[in-house]
């Protein structure tokens, strides 16, 4: 008899791995019967996780750090034994703004678009109507990536521009109504705005940080301990789902599954484009192929690097205006659990990195790295401004940021 395991998710393309692990029978073959619970806000996904309604959840990575450190509610330690994917978000702007700073139908150069945006942001601020950006959550990768890009472009978030929370299903509407000038959101919601003709995609988050951590699999730490064997089985099932997901042969079938009413309840064509890294930037044009728009499986992308958790911690300090604290830094680093990932996959033939932490953003060409198992070559993982994150000196990194 398969053992039941409940996983919460928000209807987004990057909820794909648990859904496909269930639909293709990978979970069942690992002895698990997955029950997927859909929610429309991260707050509700988190509530269900914290109060035991779900065993695990699809979650925005920074929220796991914030919850562990007790930002906004009493601290509850979470654990992340698996990264559900890298990148996959985009910045979509109202047409007049996009037209003023970028070439319609082409992804912009983040440096150049940032410089042009800086001028407009200054004008709008001087006119008393600062630019407004929408992100999906205060503790989302979207917020941190957007802020990283703005700050490195000489635009100070919260002073030069406003950043507000807009739930994904309302993003197109908020652009249309002029509630915001731009949104940073995952798929299919950028494409929905483009199809409605209310926005144009200007940048992909992968252009800001080529290998940015996005959604993760989160559990309460206590639940991970109680169900350690089941979680390791789940990791093996998710890896198989990832392998299936990146195979172009399966794109159409997987898009059709994700689009179903009980999952994303969305448009197959739009979901299919996101899976294939083919984005329609402007309504009525041809989709543009941007490799690694959404990054899965390859290069051990699902491995929970401790350095990713530490980078998220630095951004939490940066934008919540908090001081560095070694004990909190250690608690944040401990959220990501490469030990669990390794235990699940040792002996499986899946590549396992030799290290558990790395300098993020240091590679501008492919590099073969040491592996505990298999062979791993990491491609460029740069931040657009060329800055690298060295996890051995968090305070130094924070001090160096604009």
């Amino acid at each position: 008899m398969p053992v039941p395991l409940t996983i919460g998710f928000v209807p987004l393309v990057d909820a794909c791995l648990p859904i496909l692990a269930h639909e293709h029978g990978f979970a069942e073959e690992e002895g698990l019967s997955l029950r997927l619970v859909r929610d429309l806000s991260w707050a509700s996904v988190l509530d269900r996780l914290l109060y035991g309604h779900s065993d695990a959840a699809h979650m925005i990575a920074p929220l796991t750090i914030a919850t562990t450190l007790g930002r906004g509610r009493p601290a509850q330690p979470l654990a992340v034994p698996f990264v559900l994917g890298l990148n996959g978000n985009a910045i979509t702007m109202r047409r007049e703004l996009a037209g003023a700073i970028a070439t319609p139908g082409q992804l912009g150069d983040p440096l150049r678009v940032g410089a042009a945006l800086r001028e407009i942001a200054a004008q709008r601020r001087a006119a008393g109507a600062p630019l407004r950006f929408g992100v999906v959550h205060r503790y989302s990768s979207h917020n941190y990536m957007l802020r990283y890009w703005l700050a490195a472009s000489g635009i100070q978030p919260d002073r030069d521009v406003e950043i507000t929370t807009v739930p994904p299903p309302f993003c197109a509407d908020a652009l249309e109504q002029g509630e915001v000038d731009a949104i940073c959101v995952g798929e299919p919601w950028n494409s929905v705005a483009v199809e409605r003709g209310v926005g144009e995609i200007v940048l992909a988050s992968a252009q800001i940080w080529r290998r940015g951590v996005e959604k993760v699999l989160a559990l309460r730490e206590s639940r991970l301990d109680e169900r350690r064997g089941d979680v390791e089985a789940l990791i093996r099932a998710l890896i198989r789902a990832g392998k299936h997901f990146v195979d172009p042969e399966n794109h159409a079938a997987n898009a059709a599954i994700l689009a179903r009413a009980e999952y994303l309840d969305g448009n197959i064509a739009l979901i299919g484009r996101a899976i294939a890294d083919r984005m329609l930037l402007v309504r009525g044009s041809e989709p543009v192929h941007y490799p690694d728009f959404m990054f899965q499986y390859r290069e051990a992308a699902n491995f929970p690097w401790v350095s990713q958790a530490e980078w998220l911690y630095t951004q939490l300090l940066r934008w919540d205006g908090l001081a560095f604290d070694p004990a909190q830094a250690a608690a944040a680093a401990h959220v990501f659990r490469p030990d669990v990932y390794r235990a699940a996959l040792i002996g499986s033939g899946e590549p396992l990195p030799g290290a558990s932490s790395k300098v993020e953003g240091s590679l501008d060409r492919p590099l073969a790295v040491g592996a505990q198992q298999g062979a791993i070559t990491l491609a460029s993982n740069r931040f657009f401004d060329g800055r690298a994150f060295d996890p051995s000196d968090l305070a130094g990194y924070l001090a160096s940021l604009p």
């Binding site: 806000s41 509700s44 109060y51 009493p74 205060r138 739930p167």
Partner: protein, 192 residues
């Protein structure tokens, strides 16, 4: 005590409002539309905000409350470690509560208990309604299947029904399932 109910389902908001109105000293406001949600809450300055777990605007509210911590009337999610049972019950029922800091727990409890009760009652009603709709759809399907048997095999209505029932019993299926299979097969044969 000023209570805001954020709910896009007008009928549910109405039954909760009606219940809360019976609690002494409770002034209830309903916000049904996401537009201007934060501005409205700011204007009402509530002591308690109730919002259903299915509402996508929960993340917007949490952001606002996080920022408002610095304001005169900070609001937090009703998360009191000592009262895990109430929280579990409210998550179960699908309602979340945000409460002005410092509001005594004994003032919140009756109100939250009532909201939980009403949410559960509403969910039961919804389930009954869905079941009733399902039954109506099944009855229509059985009628279509009977019509096919009557037209194609010249059976009377009672004979057609008996035929469906016999097949269902032999195959250990529900009559509605047999009817659906027959209607689908008939459509396929006719090519539409």
């Amino acid at each position: 005590m000023r209570v805001v109910i954020v709910d896009e389902t007008a009928s549910r908001a109405a039954i909760i409002r009606e219940g809360l109105a019976a609690i002494a000293g409770c002034e209830v406001f309903v916000i049904g539309n996401r537009h201007g949600l934060i501005a409205q809450i700011g204007e009402i300055a509530p002591d308690i905000v109730l919002i259903d777990l299915g509402n996508p605007s929960r993340d917007v509210l949490e952001e606002y409350f996080a920022v408002s911590r610095a304001l005169a009337r900070p609001i937090a999610m009703f998360v009191d470690e000592s009262d895990a049972e109430t929280i579990a019950a409210s998550v179960e029922a699908g309602v979340s509560a945000y409460v002005v800091d410092g509001l005594a727990a004994n003032r919140i409890r009756p109100l939250l208990d009532l909201a939980i009760g009403r949410f559960n009652a509403f969910a039961r009603l919804q389930k009954d309604l869905d079941a009733a709709k399902g039954q109506l759809a099944e009855r229509a399907m059985v009628d279509r299947a009977k019509r096919i048997l009557m037209d194609d095999r010249g059976l009377s209505e009672p004979q057609a029904y008996a035929e469906l029932r016999k097949t269902a019993m032999n195959r250990n299926r529900r009559i509605a399932e047999i009817a659906e299979a027959l209607v689908t097969a008939h459509q396929l044969m006719k090519g539409n």
